[in-house]
Point group: C2
DNA sequence: TTACATTTGTTCGTATGTATA
DNA sequence: TTATACATACGAACAAATGTA
């Protein structure tokens, strides 16, 4: 059979997991949008026909995965990238003394292209599939320190244009949410060292051959759908990549 | 007032947090050692005078923080660094195709010294406090690729000797557990790029000026007690630092 | 300011299922 | 088979935070 709910994805066997996946499916179908409250627990236990404890256990996991946020007395909300905390969950560049600051972003390049081998592998697309490629230059304290070379599948970002990107009011991941209904909830990153090339010199004003941190990121949406591949290059003379475990 | 338990650290107000901290305190005092089972839930609810649900909520958090591991039908155990998973939680160096391998370690240097400014700040010690400094060279697939320069407070590692380090049978963090009763449960890492120097050339056989990944790590024990400062330098021509969120 | 309804958070306890020794 | 241990599911009662009349 499958789930005991209509929504789709389920394993059967563990009730709270079924509830969790039913909620995720409703989320993926756009029933509740980021920033909105989902129905109160009382309504949800009616809808799913489970006890309060079971429902809470399902939502507990969604909260632990940063997909939802609970506020006592207000309700349970679909997470947004608008919240400061959420932004710094994915933006891990910090001044070497620990100070965190919002970067300013400048769009440097934008074009439509066909996925090369690396992009196709990272995004799980066929080689040569249509993609958008664009480059952002990020500044901290007024100085350009990082280049983000970003690739997204054209299929999923059909209406993307350079103008839209340039005029977006808030963060990139928030823009993905608002305009394309894409919610980044997970990233995988790999870090290497490399030497600055001619492009780094032009965009950041650093000498060719400077040591740079190279960050390769694949960002995914609700169903582990890979929606963004990003290669960042950071000048680490004043800033660094910060990470805490757990 | 304080806690309603003897053990110490508590906030009062939220019962399951008190229970959690009481368990942590017992852990820090060595009542249960890594690898051992803690008493069954039945006993613990008697000891703390709380309900099963409250106890489980306390242990849930400890499990989420990788401090304990539950096994249905067997018991709840204090986490060890022996488990493979646990090792790769702190060792994040991976071949660029994703393959994970255990490194072989060679002790290259060992000496007693006084904490310099950087070490003192990282470990929260007074400047000039006695520390041990030692250097490991890590090899993957038989090739030396990373240098770990490690500093630990002599106070906390009183009986450490070069011989002990050289003859330790298993991983370093496991050695900390077994010999010093120190359990690393948390790390903070900062990553930068740098250029290979003369020491890198000597120990890894790479040309001076090669781009290298520099990782600064502070490792902490149960009560956020900082017990190890480590500066690693990785040749990222074949390997990389891998990271998944969440 | 107060009172009240709404919503999530905490604590309690019971019954049953599943894995292990 | 039996006993033990954790896992799941249920639901009641009260506390705390929030928004509104």
């Amino acid at each position: 059979m499958g789930s005991r709910f209509d929504a789709g994805a389920a394993i059967g066997g563990v009730l709270y997991k079924d509830v969790k996946h039913a909620i995720l499916a409703a989320l993926a179908e756009g029933e509740w949008k980021p920033g909105e409250a989902i129905p109160p627990e009382r309504k949800l236990i009616e809808r799913f026909g489970v006890s309060i404890g079971t429902l809470r256990k399902a939502i507990d996991e969604l909260v632990a995965e940063n997909i939802m946020i609970r506020h006592q007395g207000r309700g349970t909300f679909v997470a947004t990238h608008r919240q400061e905390d959420h932004f710094f969950r994915f933006f891990r560049i910090v001044r070497q003394d620990g100070y965190r600051e919002f970067p300013t972003v400048q769009l440097a390049k934008f074009r439509r292209a066909k996925a090369d081998k690396e992009e196709a592998a990272a995004l799980g697309l066929p080689l040569g599939e249509a993609v958008f490629r664009f480059t952002n230059v990020l500044s901290l304290e007024g100085r350009a320190v990082m280049i983000d070379a970003i690739t997204v599948p054209a299929e999923r970002f059909r209406t993307l244009t350079e103008k839209l990107l340039r005029e977006r009011p808030n963060t990139l991941y928030n823009f993905y949410q608002d305009v394309f209904g894409i919610n980044i909830i997970r990233t995988e990153e790999r870090l290497r060292a490399t030497l600055a090339d001619e492009e780094d010199h032009e965009l950041l004003g650093i000498p060719v051959g400077t040591a740079m941190l190279k960050i390769l990121r694949v960002a995914s949406s609700y169903q582990n759908e890979r929606v963004e591949y990003r290669v960042s290059r950071l000048d680490t003379s004043d800033y660094e990549f910060a990470l805490s475990q757990p």
